[in-house]
Symmetry: C2
Subunit: 426 residues, 2 copies
């Protein structure tokens, strides 16, 4: 897939052709927003903008794409010529990555001749929903991890390879420390980490031979998976190895009663002078488990967080929409039950009290209210007008945002709805 | 991403280097299986094999990949040379796409020198889980749709673009009739379909002008979205248009009380001689809604199935594993609590009674039992040894499989566990 022009729903193309045919090429504004946060999300972390900008640049139609569209028999030659030359020429307004956002806030607004803005619909929703959803899930583990290390172990159960790679990005900005995903390491410069699998332990005649072989090659990363046969026995073997002089950095427990095992293993290690050996836990880890285990006093130093975070299992999609809000300067809105939209290109203003977020307002772009404006012009006439921040910078934005978020919204078990006032309805 | 070699977890690479360093290059068999079906799945549709074969062929390391791995400082030059020349040389055994499968059945078995088989772990799980999960979700809509049309409308809320494209493939083999996803149409030859969005209706001064303009350009696909303002009023406008001679193929309802609206709209259409005009429903459609609406007598002709199917929302991941089961001809298994594995490369035998599936057995590959064997050798010494079926052929396999599945397993609301006997434990 060299070009992304076909990464769209068919109706975007049929509507675009009709718009052009009817001379409807006025400037439209479409707004992407989450209508209602899932019950288990008190706030979201805005993410995916850099991916979106890359994708929009690549939203073009090459010979192969044109040939396929022609084969469908529903597009006229002059429309195919229009697509052949297609390059997005509009403006993109967005809330930068890493900001905390809420329901009904325009994460991305696309302002362009309507055929262009329409063609991008599928791409915009697909891109922003996924990374925002994953960052917003990952940050919940960060909130309960009490400064302990978090690593993305989810690649294998992501919805495809691309999802795994983008999720590694989203989790890193949300406070994870690294990923097991090597491609994500290369693409985004995220620290890559890993230990060993059960298969590795099983290949050696004795468990301790596997540990010894691994430590020989990776003395700085000598983390041993100790639950293949008997976790407690394996912990004792680790002690013996350390006494032999084998480097031991940590042990990983991937199954069983994590609280009980981690306490017993900690005791064995401590009693043998291995206070610096870390305990890493994986297998079914999510924010609920982390909280529960810490509440029960489990001495865990790091978590491999996998399946449930990378699929955003308790909220695997958002009620997210990309809606027409303005056409030729006039407000547009929809009245369908449960699917009402708010007219106009909008700014989001944030208000604080004692340094903590108090409420937000969304109002007409030109409204000049007093709060902190969140929305920025990112692409103008199809060109990026400012350098996008690095992944590390976005991560720092998230950390600073969490400082400003009142504590109740950080609760992972209770629902609190932050106030977003919607001005300028008509 | 030209090559897929880095689409792996770091530990696969560190283990592979250690295996080579320790001279552990014997033949291993790894088995991919679902440990326990989610409560809301009575059976699965095997899918993703073609994607996997393509990915395995492309699992290589180019200059860029080698350069990145070198930069990590943990891989020796001779291992990097090994990767530079890497090409999978082993055997792949699999249950063909479209077959009905159950818990503990080896969907894919990789037999290769252990460093190779280990390196593929992440790729195999990622690929097979996703497509199998989506096909297994999609088929549930097919089971309750009573022969009415089903179309994939999920692209926008898939976990990334790739997930959307592969989900279109998986849903087509599971009985869907088409997709809105244009790229999937091009890649897989799936019929592409679409109607119009609310934005399109809102751009015209009057609702009926939008319908008229659309029908003029697409007389064969004149399906009008009628819920932008008032669904009943819009249905009446559709009748007027038809009387004017405007072609009308169908109407789409995307919100509101679907049962009530579809009945009223049907009545309006029928009373005005528009018995052939179809009613298409979208918006929050899944197998539960389809069943409920039909149980309540809704006269719906086609469904746009989106978000909940494309994210497999009620089971967004499986308890799926890729485990070492044999090394150098010796059985291997794991004893971790809740994570037991079964040794040996295996065949799956299926037994029937009166043409309906009765139970399955898994036994040693060489066991020659009486049932129908499901597992086939697909790749030998790294090469595909048989042409894989076309998408249409796979779809026919699914249809034929559903014929053989006893009715109780087709219930989407109750859980029935099919018997899979596991022979040859040790």
């Amino acid at each position: 897939m060299k070009y992304l022009g076909l990464c769209t729903d068919l109706y975007e193309l049929t509507m675009a052709q009709s718009y052009l045919y009817e001379g409807k090429t006025g400037t439209a504004v479409f707004s992407l927003f989450v209508r209602k946060l899932p019950e288990k999300r008190n706030f979201l972390i805005s993410a995916g903008l850099e991916t979106l900008v890359e994708r929009i640049k690549n939203f073009k139609f090459g010979d192969e794409e044109i040939k396929y569209l022609k084969s469908l028999g529903i597009f006229k030659d002059d429309f195919l010529d229009y697509l052949k030359d297609f390059e997005f020429s509009g403006n993109v307004y967005a809330i930068p990555e890493g900001r905390i956002v809420f329901q009904n806030e325009p994460l991305v607004q696309v302002e362009a001749p309507i055929p262009e803005a329409q063609l991008l619909e599928t791409l915009v929703i697909n891109t922003i929903q996924f990374e925002t959803m994953i960052a917003s899930k990952a940050v919940r583990s960060y909130l309960v991890a009490k400064g302990k290390k978090l690593v993305d172990f989810g690649f294998r159960r992501a919805h495809g390879l691309e999802a795994g790679i983008l999720a590694a990005r989203a989790s890193y900005i949300a406070g994870f420390d690294g990923t097991s995903n090597v491609e994500a390491g290369r693409e985004f410069g995220i620290p890559v980490v890993g230990t060993m699998a059960h298969s590795y332990v099983m290949i050696f005649d004795k468990e301790e031979d596997a540990f010894r072989a691994f430590a020989k090659l990776y003395p700085k990363n000598a983390i041993f998976l100790i639950d293949t046969y008997d976790t407690i026995e394996a912990a004792k073997k680790v002690v013996d190895l350390a006494k032999e002089g084998v480097p031991v950095v940590g042990v990983r427990i991937d199954s069983g009663d994590i609280v009980k095992l981690s306490k017993e293993v900690r005791k064995i290690l401590d009693e043998n002078g291995l206070k610096n050996v870390r305990i890493i836990v994986s297998g079914g880890v999510d924010e609920y488990k982390i909280k529960e285990w810490f509440d029960r006093g489990a001495p865990i130093d790091a978590f491999g967080v996998g399946t449930k975070f990378i699929t955003s299992a308790d909220a695997p999609y958002f009620d997210i929409a990309y809606k027409l809000v303005e056409y030729e300067g006039k407000p547009k809105y929809k009245l369908s039950p449960g699917k009402k939209t708010f007219p106009y290109k909008r700014q989001v203003y944030r208000y604080y009290e004692n340094g903590k977020m108090k409420y937000d307002e969304t109002a007409k772009w030109e409204s000049k209210r007093e709060g902190e404006p969140l929305v920025e012009l990112v692409m103008k006439n199809g060109k990026l007008i400012k350098e996008l921040p690095s992944l590390k910078e976005i991560r720092e934005v998230v950390m600073s945002e969490l400082e400003k978020l009142p504590e109740n919204y950080k609760d992972i078990t209770k629902h609190y709805e932050y106030e977003v006032k919607i001005l300028d309805w008509e």
